[in-house]
C-alpha cells in the first residue's frame, strides 16, 4: 500500500489489485468489471471493478448515497447496470430472464426494512421460495424452514405472523427466508439500520455465526464493530466509486485515502 498523499496512477493500480484479488478460498464467485449505473442523469455507480471470493465476507461502507446499496442490488439484478459486466457464479447478468432467475436462486438477500410478507405466517414466508422456486414438496420445505428458524434462534415463532414479531425477530426471519433457498451467496443491505439498538446485537450475532459457516457474504452496513470482527475485506465507496479496498486492520488503523479518513472520523 503506497502512502502517497496525491492520488496518481500508482494508487489506481494498487486499488485495482486489491479490488480484484479474491479472498476467501481465493476462487472468484462474483466478478464485477467497470460497472456503471445511472438513475436518469444521476450516475449511481462509476467504474466499479471488484471480485469477491468464495467464502469471503466483504463489508461495504460509505456515506449515504454513495451507491453501496445500488451496487449489491445489481448483483441479483434488482437494479440493472448500464455498462460493464457482472458475473455471478459463472453466470453473466444480462436481459435474459432465465439467467436472472438462476442467479437469484443462488443469491439470498436481506433488506433494511425486512420485507417479510405480512399475509403469510413465518413458516409460509420461509417455505415460499423453496416450494415455488425450487419446487420442493411441502414436507421437505417445512423441515428445512424449521431448521433455518433454529439457526436464527426463533423456532417457537413459526406459526406467527410477521406483524406479531419484534424488529429483530423479523429480520432474523428474513435471514432464515433467504437461507432456506440454500444460496451460495448472501447479500445484506443495511440489515440493522431499521432496528432498535437492543435488537441489533441479535441480528449481528446470527450474521457472525453465518460467516463462520463459510457463507460468501456481502454486507452493506454502518456497524464498524462487525466489519472489524468478521470482514475479510472492507470496501469504502463514495459518490458511486470504490475509493479504497483493504483488510479491516488496514482500514481502521491506517487508511490511505483522505476521504476514508474523513468518513471514519465522522462515524467512529
Amino acid at each position: 500500500m503506497s502512502a502517497t498523499d496525491t492520488p496518481g496512477p500508482q494508487d489506481t493500480d494498487d486499488l485495482t489489485a486489491m479490488a480484484v484479488e479474491a479472498q476467501g478460498t481465493g476462487e472468484p464467485i462474483i466478478e464485477c468489471y467497470q460497472v456503471d449505473k445511472w438513475f436518469g442523469r444521476f450516475q449511481a455507480l462509476r467504474d466499479v471493478t471488484l471480485t469477491v471470493g468464495r467464502q469471503e465476507v466483504m463489508v461495504v461502507i460509505g456515506p449515504s448515497g454513495s451507491g453501496k446499496s445500488t451496487f449489491i442490488r445489481c448483483i441479483n439484478r434488482l437494479e440493472e447496470h448500464d455498462r460493464g459486466r457482472i458475473v455471478v457464479d459463472g453466470i453473466e447478468l444480462g436481459n435474459d430472464l432465465r439467467r436472472i432467475a438462476e442467479v437469484r436462486r443462488e443469491v439470498g438477500m436481506v433488506f433494511q426494512s425486512f420485507n417479510l410478507f405480512p399475509h403469510l405466517t413465518v413458516l409460509d414466508n420461509i417455505t415460499l421460495g423453496p416450494r415455488r422456486v425450487r419446487r420442493w414438496p411441502q414436507r421437505r420445505a417445512e423441515q428445512v424452514a424449521r431448521e433455518m428458524l433454529e439457526t436464527v434462534h426463533i423456532p417457537e415463532q413459526a406459526n406467527k405472523y410477521p406483524g406479531q414479531l419484534s424488529g429483530g425477530q423479523q429480520q432474523r426471519v428474513a435471514i432464515a427466508r433467504a437461507l432456506a433457498m440454500q444460496p451460495k451467496i448472501m447479500l445484506f443491505d443495511e440489515p440493522t439500520s431499521a432496528l432498535d439498538p437492543e435488537m441489533i446485537a441479535e441480528v449481528l450475532d446470527v450474521m457472525k455465526e453465518l460467516a463462520r459457516t463459510g457463507m460468501t457474504m456481502i454486507v452493506v452496513t454502518h456497524e464498524m464493530g462487525f466489519a472489524r470482527e468478521v470482514a475479510d475485506r472492507v470496501v469504502f465507496m463514495a459518490e458511486g466509486s470504490i475509493v479504497e479496498v483493504g483488510t479491516p486492520e488496514h482500514f481502521f488503523q491506517n487508511p490511505t485515502e483522505d476521504r476514508t479518513k474523513l468518513f471514519l472520523s465522522q462515524i467512529l
Binding site: 441479483n76 434488482l78 430472464l97 432467475a101 437469484r104 436462486r105 443469491v107 439470498g108 438477500m109 433488506f111 426494512s113 420485507n115 417479510l116 410478507f117 405480512p118 399475509h119 405466517t121 413458516l123 415460499l128 421460495g129 415455488r132 422456486v133 413459526a158 406459526n159 406467527k160 405472523y161 410477521p162 406483524g163 406479531q164 428474513a174 427466508r177 433467504a178 433457498m181
Partner: protein, 438 residues
C-alpha cells in the same frame, strides 16, 4: 336529572368500553389480558347517553324522535296497511309475471343445487381451516351453535316475511327442505376437507348446473325470467364475471407493456364516462351488430349481462389498482430476490395483499351493482322493482294507495341483500386481518 356535573364513575373499576353497533363475534380475550370491563346497565346508560348536559339533551330529543318513527312504522306495518297486494302478487315478485307456473319446480331444484353445493363447500372450508390450524398448533376457534342466526338475521327476516305472505304451506315446506339439504351437505362437507382444494371448480360446476336446471332441457327461456330471481341472477353473475375481469384490467393497467396499458386505460376511462343506462342500451342494440347474419346474436339477458360486467369491471379495476399501489415496492423486490417469476410474485404476494386491502371498497361496489340491477327495467326486463311498478298499476289495486306497502316490501328485500353483503365483508375483513397488525 340531566343538569349538573356528569356523574362520577370509578374509572378503575369501570373503564369506558367502546360501544359496538354490531354484536359480531369478538375475539376471545386472552387469559392473561387486561381485566374485563363489565358495566351495569345503569353505568352504561350514564356513560354513553347522559355523560354531558349537551349529550343528555341530544339523547332525549333523538330518543323521542326515534320512538315516534318506530311507533308509526310499526302501526303502518302491522295495523293500518293491507298486505293483500303483496300476498296476491308474491309469485310475480319472486319470479316475474311471465314465468310459467308449472316450471317453478325448476327454480326450487336450482336452489337445492346451489344450497347443497354451498353447504358442501362451507363445511369443507371450515374443516380444512381447522385441519390447518391444528397442524400448525394454532387454536381452533369454533363459532357457537346459533351464530349463523346472528350472522344472517337480515336475510332470515326477509325470508320469514316472504313466507308469511304465502297462501299455502308448500313454499315453507320446500324452504325447510332446502335448509335440510344445506345442513346435510354441510355435514358431509365437514368430513371431506380435501374438497376445499376444488372450491373454484365446484363453484363453476354449481353455476353451470343451476343454470341448466332452470333454463336447460326445455326449461324456461331467459326472456321469461323476472322478479327477485332475475335480480339475484344478474347480481351474482355480474359479480362473478366482473371481479376476475376487473382484476385483470387492473393488472393490465400497471403492466410494463405500453400497448396493454393504453388499451386498459382507454377502456376504463370510456366506461367510466358513460352512465350504466347508456351502456345497457348500447349492449342491447350494438352487440348484435358484431354478429354476422348467419349467426344468432346472444339473448337480451346475455347482452345486458355483458354491459353490466363491462361497467362494473372498470370500477373494480380502479379499486384494485388502488390496492396494488398501496403495496410497498419492497414486497415485490423481496419476492423477486427469492427467484420467483414476475407472475408468481403478482399472484402470491402482491394480489392477495392488494385484494385484502380493498375488500370494503369492492363490496361497496357490489352492493351498488345489486341495486343498479333495477336499471334493467329500462331495457325491458321485469326485475324486482319493475314488478312492483306493474303490480301497483293493476286495475284491481288502482286508487287504493297501495304504493307504500308494495315499495316497502321491495325496499326490505333490497336492504336485506345489501346489508348481508356489507356484514359479510366486515366479517371477512376482520378475519383476514388477524395477526396482520403492523
Amino acid at each position: 336529572m340531566t343538569d349538573g356535573p356528569p356523574p362520577l364513575v370509578d374509572e378503575a373499576q369501570a373503564p369506558r368500553v367502546p360501544t359496538t353497533l354490531e354484536p359480531g363475534p369478538l375475539p376471545a380475550p386472552e387469559p392473561t389480558g387486561p381485566p374485563e370491563a363489565r358495566l351495569t346497565a345503569r353505568q352504561w346508560v350514564r356513560q354513553n347517553l347522559f355523560a354531558t348536559p349537551f349529550g343528555s339533551v341530544l339523547t332525549i330529543i333523538m330518543g323521542l324522535g326515534l320512538g315516534y318513527v318506530l311507533y308509526r312504522l310499526a302501526w303502518f306495518a302491522l295495523v293500518s296497511s293491507d298486505w293483500e297486494i303483496v300476498r296476491r302478487n308474491l309469485r310475480r315478485f319472486m319470479v316475474g309475471g311471465e314465468y310459467p307456473e308449472d316450471q317453478v319446480w325448476r327454480l326450487w331444484a336450482g336452489l337445492y343445487v346451489v344450497g347443497g353445493l354451498a353447504g358442501l363447500l362451507s363445511g369443507a372450508t371450515v374443516a380444512h381451516a381447522e385441519q390447518q390450524a391444528r397442524a400448525s398448533g394454532r387454536e381452533v376457534v369454533r363459532p357457537g351453535r346459533w351464530d349463523w342466526i346472528r350472522r344472517y338475521w337480515p336475510a332470515l327476516v326477509v325470508i320469514a316475511v316472504i313466507l308469511s305472505q304465502t297462501r299455502t304451506w308448500t313454499p315453507t315446506l320446500l324452504t325447510l327442505l332446502g335448509a335440510m339439504v344445506f345442513a346435510s351437505a354441510r355435514w358431509l362437507g365437514r368430513r371431506a376437507p380435501w374438497l376445499a382444494r376444488f372450491t373454484w371448480l365446484a363453484l363453476l360446476v354449481g353455476a353451470v348446473a343451476s343454470v341448466q336446471v332452470v333454463a336447460g332441457f326445455g326449461g324456461v327461456s331467459w326472456s321469461d325470467w323476472g322478479g327477485l330471481h332475475l335480480t339475484l341472477f344478474v347480481t351474482v353473475a355480474g359479480i362473478a364475471l366482473s371481479f376476475p375481469f376487473g382484476v385483470m384490467v387492473a393488472l393490465g393497467r400497471r403492466s410494463s407493456l405500453p400497448a396493454l396499458r393504453w388499451v386498459t386505460v382507454a377502456y376504463i376511462e370510456v366506461i367510466r364516462g358513460v352512465p350504466l343506462v347508456t351502456l345497457l342500451f348500447l349492449g342491447i342494440y350494438v352487440i348484435p351488430l358484431f354478429f354476422p347474419n348467419t349467426v344468432e346474436p346472444p339473448s337480451n339477458l346475455t347482452r345486458a349481462l355483458i354491459a353490466v360486467t363491462l361497467f362494473e369491471a372498470a370500477y373494480v379495476a380502479e379499486t384494485v389498482r388502488g390496492g396494488l399501489q398501496a403495496i410497498p415496492r419492497g414486497q415485490r423486490e423481496a419476492a423477486e430476490a427469492l427467484g420467483l417469476s414476475r407472475w408468481k410474485v403478482t399472484r402470491l404476494i402482491v394480489l392477495p395483499q392488494a385484494l385484502r386491502a380493498v375488500i370494503p371498497a369492492m363490496v361497496g361496489q357490489f352492493i351498488s351493482l345489486f341495486k343498479d340491477t333495477s336499471l334493467l327495467q329500462i331495457i325491458g326486463f321485469v326485475e324486482l322493482l319493475e314488478v312492483a311498478r306493474i303490480t301497483v298499476s293493476q286495475p284491481a289495486f288502482l286508487g287504493q294507495r297501495l304504493h307504500t306497502v308494495t315499495f316497502a316490501f321491495v325496499a326490505l328485500v333490497y336492504w336485506a341483500g345489501s346489508y348481508t353483503m356489507s356484514r359479510e365483508s366486515r366479517r371477512l375483513e376482520s378475519r383476514l386481518g388477524l395477526g396482520e397488525r403492523r
